[in-house]
Symmetry: C2
Subunit: 372 residues, 2 copies
């Protein structure tokens, strides 16, 4: 279980299959965020319809509400939310730092107040493994300290060292608490935007006895250039036989560039958040459906995609739904944006297998115009 | 086209079939409200899945945004919103009065400001037929004056007389503007809660050359007792060969009592609005899913209903979704509440056909507890 089979490479780009108790994941893969045990606006069968292979849950949010014990008592996260394909749960380290003001970092863990009711909580490397065992996700993440993108070298190093110490404790906690046939765990490379720290962190995380490695802290305000450079620094130190997961990224162009730099797994709230804000992607770029030019546009969002959101309704109708604040509008755009990313990753995978990824990347930029 | 075949009666209760260009409607029927060209939170295929036979659109809302001409240019309401079963459109008379403060009633129509952008509009009996011809609904409604439930007899009579005059003009406008093979039109009985006015209005509307008759002004603040009494007053004056539509009603118990008093068609926003407020119906009554007793309830909303909202998820999970303000929660409750009303009307219809409606009504109240 949790074997990663590398099926093709093309430059640094990789195509593989990761085996989990809830099914195989073909990489490169984009994983939609089901933060509160639901991918926003979508039903599980719709995720299957558009081709989701694995979704995320969030240990921070589910610990706060309704609590991991309740989900365990209801049969675990898969059964509770009716999703029987793989689930990856983030440890909640990132959310502790991004959603809370009163965070106290201690040597043995992190203290914070709930963003819902202000109640006090304490996460340790072991406690987040325990709560993720309660959730029953296929892939658990370790507790890390996600230092801000503008941290200085001294603080970035301190946070990285703590993250390494916690990662070691997590490996011990995993051995103590988890069944390795049912769950696995990825550590997280940190080091902010400092090349020396990132290289050190990558080597350290690569040395741990885990089935995959994640790269964190690259969606917290640093520039796209920094992100791509850090990937160039990190990837040579990561073992080829483990899947590499770039956390919290991305946009279509980030996925193309991530794969180009050896990444296998991606997640991001952007696809569904864009949908809730009235935006959609196609192979020419990102668009706002509210634009007046769509009011009488009888074409669908993307006719080549065979799902009811992408090809079932006209842009004219969706333009109206979004202007009128109707839920169906954000449902259709969220679903389409996910379908688009799944189509993109499937095309990327095929290009890698066919040994024409470089060509694909050029073609992509010929038609896709990046907006910031 | 637009034939009504009365298939069974049991006391005053009726079971029939109404033929339209977009398919047959088996009555009694509950019609979900698709006010802004979407039944809130739901996709068209989900409406079909739970058994919707006909939905409503609203001429007021669609005239204001995006305009009936745009919808006509996009191929009509059915094609635009991807619903190929029957559609009934309300004239917007009710919305003019309920959504606007600056309403000026004139002999030839009603002037009002848009609740969206304040722009000035004028509805006449003929103009609302024209816009409904643009929309292409199967059943159009006449412009009426929906006087407040606390109007005195003098004002109620004046509004009724105006409504009668407008109904006559509507019949003329219909002959001039509409294709009777594609669309039909119902007039609306008014008269507030005054028995003499309601009887007079029923006789008048019954005398017009239309394929059905509606009863309006019974969901604007009057008591349930007044509503049921008015139905007793009105129905003897309505022709048996035309379907009778009670506008803006109802709750499950209102539907049972409406059918008991000879009503064939119902609509109401209540089912989906309740869903958005975290409530659901089953055959024991109305419940709030937020109630703590549902936090660990592993049973579905109603296992006897075969759709993913009613029987696909536990109350525990839906309790969480609603507490966490997740769209999937309001989707599931809205869809379930509609499924429940369709199940209820199907059971009522079968009871009428089997000549055991009185018994069904008693059984219903044995289990269903009414809350106000």
């Amino acid at each position: 279980m949790f074997d990663f089979k590398l099926e093709a490479t093309d430059g640094l780009a990789r195509a593989g299959t990761f085996t989990t108790p809830h099914g195989d994941i073909q990489t490169p893969v984009f994983m939609p965020c089901g933060t509160q045990a639901t991918v926003k606006t979508m039903a599980p069968h719709e995720l299957e319809e558009v081709g989701a292979q694995i979704i995320l849950g969030n240990n921070y949010h589910l610990h706060i509400r309704p609590g991991s014990e309740l989900i365990r008592d209801m049969g675990g996260l898969h059964k509770w939310m009716k999703w029987d394909k793989p689930i990856l749960t983030d440890s909640g380290g990132f959310q502790v730092f991004s959603l809370n003001h009163k965070v106290k970092i201690k040597e043995d863990g992190v203290q914070f107040n709930s963003h819902i009711d202000g109640s006090k909580h304490f996460f340790t490397p072991e406690s987040v493994i325990q709560t993720q065992v309660n959730l029953g996700s296929d892939i658990m993440m370790v507790l890390d300290e996600c230092a801000p993108g503008d941290s200085d070298h001294r603080y970035a190093r301190q946070a990285m060292k703590r993250t390494h110490e916690w990662a070691k404790q997590s490996v011990d906690a995993f051995k103590k608490l988890a069944d390795p046939e049912k769950q696995t765990m990825f550590p997280i490379v940190q080091g902010v935007i400092f090349d020396d720290l990132r290289a050190e962190s990558a080597k350290f995380m690569a040395s741990l006895d885990t089935k995959g490695v994640a790269i964190g802290g690259l969606s917290v305000g640093e520039s796209t250039e920094d992100m791509y450079r850090i990937l160039d620094v990190v990837n040579p130190h990561l073992p080829t036989e483990k899947p590499r997961y770039l956390m919290g990224v991305g946009k279509p162009e980030n996925i193309v560039e991530g794969v180009y730099r050896g990444i296998d797994m991606f997640d991001c709230v952007h696809a569904t958040r864009l949908g809730r804000h009235g935006c959609f992607w196609d192979y020419t770029g990102r668009h706002s459906i509210k634009n007046a030019k769509f009011a009488k546009d009888e074409t669908p969002l993307l006719s080549s995609l065979d799902n009811f959101a992408s090809s079932g309704f006209s842009k004219s109708y969706i333009h109206h739904l979004i202007k009128a604040n109707e839920v169906l509008g954000i449902r259709l755009l969220s679903m389409h944006n996910l379908a688009f990313l799944f189509d993109l990753t499937a095309k990327i995978r095929q290009a890698v297998i066919d040994g024409r990824f470089e060509e694909f990347r050029k073609e992509f930029y010929d038609s896709y115009k990046i907006k910031n």
